[in-house]
């Protein structure tokens, strides 16, 4: 009985001890797990406690985390004794950009002739837009301004304007609209290429009245975009793709776009320019030749608009002609059929759409005009924003006779949420008239080859 009691008690103690050591050992093993530097939580805790006990700080509890961090930092780590790895490519890219950007701000070494060139008014325009909460940051505006000045001097541009920024998935596009002092020779159209059904407008007229330059970064060189064709404009109105930032990227879409991203960008710019460039009413008029010219202040009957009136849609008008459905601003000259029978000559093709002249007042539904915000001294900035092309803004300050246009967006018009992706065409069926024919027998097929070979042989024998 005595042995039995001892055995029972001992067994229980043994079991309890075993259970304790199991959890104790597990816990200890967890604490002693070492990382790659040979440090473990156990060693860290012992070091921290040792440091505290040695230094006995007054506010040990408060300083516990800091002491722990300091102990961690003072541990030996193998990595610290080795040579650090080579700088990665990312840092090389960063310094490349920084070098390019610094070069932008250095004044040009040669004395370049800036006579006759109107400097870009970007900084003034951005000041106008800053009142509306639109635009770029000040540093970015200055960078773009400096870049435009350099572009103007290098290409001898009479006027250059910052059109805006189109955001892309990879990189963004900065766009500039310019007119040359001496327009360069336009490349001859390729004689082998088939003539387009709707020819492009001549350079200097209509959709091609200005040249457009684009760059991914203000410090990078500007690239001139080609002239726009009506086919591209019509195709661009059916396509809705994000820009990638690479001018030579393909556009994968349906209906297929005739060109690469460069042409798509140029077509969207044309649509934006002709749809969203505004000016205050009464500032310009159409001359007898059809050009838009500025109304001189001393002209009779010219009353410049006051700031208070700029809150009305009627005070704004489109600066350029509208684009027609064929992709041009002007209709093609009508070709009449010869009246051989003495009947009325009928124009070929459908009735041409009436042209949309320049300086039409804006539609109140497509634009939202914000009334003047007073900035003191009787001056006030009024801004109108386009609802059809979100991101297009026009601002005016009539007391100082200033107005500006800007676009910052993704480059697409607004949708009403309904996807207008067209369906592919139906699968081609067999033709209507199907006649059955027998297969050509092999001897007849071979006969033709044989005859040709004999003829060649005969010709060869003659020579």
């Amino acid at each position: 009985p005595f042995c039995g009691a001892v055995c029972a008690g001992g067994l229980r103690l043994l079991l309890v001890a075993m259970a304790e050591t199991a959890s104790h050992a597990d816990g200890l093993a967890f604490l002693k797990k070492t990382d790659e530097n040979g440090l473990s939580l156990y060693s860290q805790l012992t070091d921290v406690l040792a440091t505290i006990l040695v230094s006995k700080p007054a506010d040990a509890l408060e300083a516990f985390e800091t002491i722990s961090q300091q102990v961690k930092a003072s541990q030996f780590s193998a990595a610290a004794t080795m040579v650090p790895p080579m700088p990665t490519e990312a840092s090389a890219e960063e310094s490349a950009w920084a070098a390019q950007d610094v070069a932008l701000f250095k004044p040009s070494s040669e004395e370049e002739d800036g006579d006759g060139l109107a400097p870009p008014a970007l900084l003034d325009e951005m000041a106008l837009f800053e009142w509306a909460g639109v635009g770029l940051s000040r540093e970015e505006s200055f960078r773009v301004h400096t870049s435009l000045c350099k572009l103007q001097l290098s290409k001898k541009l009479a006027t250059v304007r910052f059109f805006g920024k189109i955001l892309g998935t990879g990189k963004d596009y900065y766009l500039a609209e310019a007119k040359y002092v001496d327009p360069p020779e336009q490349p001859e159209p390729d004689p082998d290429a088939p003539a387009p059904t709707v020819p492009a407008e001549e350079y200097g007229t209509g959709c091609n009245s200005c040249s457009y330059f684009v760059t991914n970064d203000p410090a990078a060189p500007w690239v001139e975009l080609p002239n726009v064709t009506p086919g591209a404009i019509v195709a661009a109105s059916l396509v809705r793709k994000f820009f990638t930032g690479d001018l030579s990227a393909e556009i994968r879409c349906y209906p297929p776009f005739p060109g690469v991203e460069k042409d798509y960008l140029r077509a969207q710019i044309a649509r934006l320019v002709h749809g969203t460039t505004l000016c205050p009413s009464g500032k310009y008029r159409v001359s007898e030749e059809g050009d838009v010219e500025e109304v001189v202040k001393d002209d009779e009957g010219h009353v410049p608009l006051r700031n208070g009136a700029m809150g009305e849609p009627a005070s704004w008008c489109h600066f350029y002609k509208g684009i027609l459905a064929i992709g041009r601003t002007t209709n093609l000259p009508v070709v009449e059929e010869d009246d051989e029978d003495g009947e009325e000559p009928k124009p070929k093709g459908p009735e041409p759409e009436p042209e949309k002249p320049a300086l039409l007042p804006i539609a109140g539904t497509a634009w939202s005009v914000l009334g003047p915000r007073h900035i003191g001294g009787g001056a006030a900035v009024s801004v109108s924003r386009c609802l059809m092309w979100p991101g297009a803004y026009a601002a005016a300050e009539m007391k100082e006779d200033k107005f500006a246009n800007l676009y910052i967006g993704w480059g697409h018009p607004a949708t009403d949420g309904i996807n207008m992706q067209p369906a592919p065409p139906p699968i081609m069926a067999d033709g209507d008239e199907l006649t059955e024919m027998d297969d050509v027998p092999l001897e007849h097929e071979n006969q033709a080859f044989q005859a040709a070979a004999e003829k060649a042989l005969a010709d060869g024998a003659d020579e």
Partner: protein, 275 residues
């Protein structure tokens, strides 16, 4: 009230997203310097951050987010950055009504504007009920919550679970991520989306932090694009699904956040628009 962890953006960080077109006017920036601290004091928030701007036809709404110490968040809107009004708490009925609105409908800019929807077919015995109306205030609240739920991003490591109740909050020991990591989408997590757990995985992880969906799992693939803005030194993550939403990180520093400047229109054509 909504329980989300990481508040969106400090007012002073607007300069980091300016190159994506997200700017504030001078008067707004100046007014925010005083009206935000007042709002914080009035409601005793732990912090008040700027969510962004939702653009309407005639005017824009600035949206601010106030976070209490318990983690609950409240949203406010303002037309002039001076006076703030709280957006209403959302119920399931409100969200259902807003879902019936036509897509792409812009905000008017008038907070009391109401849209009347078609009345539901009445049951046989009931009289025809009045057609339900949705006010712009409710629409705004729904839009802000939807964008916050679908788009809010944070770098991994920036959030930790609170020991008390498991809600996520900012990690005070977060030191930042380096540039290479910042340019990769795998370094970001959606703050409000959990990874869908498969039925085979067994018990769902109790830790909400580890189950946050990675930004790489965004649907459709390619709807988030990263961009390193050398001038400001920040990496921006732009959403193509909600154009105007920008998350940013300044590599090497704990600065991060997100904001939305746009029309509150979801880009449903994104599948066709991706290059």
């Amino acid at each position: 009230t909504l329980r989300h962890p990481c508040p969106s953006m400090e007012v002073g960080d607007v300069s980091l997203v300016a190159s994506s077109g997200a700017v504030l006017s001078m008067s707004e920036k100046a007014a925010l310097q005083s009206s935000v601290p007042l709002l914080k004091k009035q409601y005793r928030f732990g912090s008040v951050k700027l969510f962004g701007k939702i653009k309407g036809k005639s005017s824009d709404y600035l949206i601010a987010m106030g976070e209490e110490s318990t983690g609950t968040k409240k949203y406010f809107f303002s037309l002039d950055a001076v006076t703030w009004a709280q957006l209403p708490e959302l119920t399931a009925e409100m969200k259902a009504l807003c879902a019936k609105l036509p897509a792409g409908l812009p905000f008017t800019g008038d907070i009391s504007h109401a849209i009347t929807l078609e009345a539901p077919e009445p049951a046989e015995d009931e009289e025809p009920s009045e057609p339900p109306t949705v006010t712009e205030e409710v629409r705004l609240a729904v839009a802000v919550e939807t964008i916050e739920m679908e788009c809010a991003l944070a770098p991994t490591g920036a959030l930790i679970s609170s020991l008390a109740d498991g809600h996520l909050k900012a990690n005070p020991n977060y030191k930042g991520i380096d540039l290479t990591a910042a340019k990769s989408l795998s370094s970001y997590v959606f703050v409000n989306c959990q990874t869908p757990t498969s039925v085979l995985a067994g018990v769902a992880p109790a830790d909400r932090l580890s189950s946050l969906a990675s930004a790489e799992s965004a649907v459709p693939a390619g709807s988030l694009c990263t961009r390193y803005d050398e001038a400001t030194g920040a990496v921006q993550v732009r959403s193509l699904l909600w154009p105007g939403h920008v998350a940013f990180v300044k590599p090497g520093t704990p600065v991060h956040g997100y904001c939305y400047f746009g029309n509150a229109v979801k880009n449903t054509d994104i599948a066709f628009m991706l290059p």
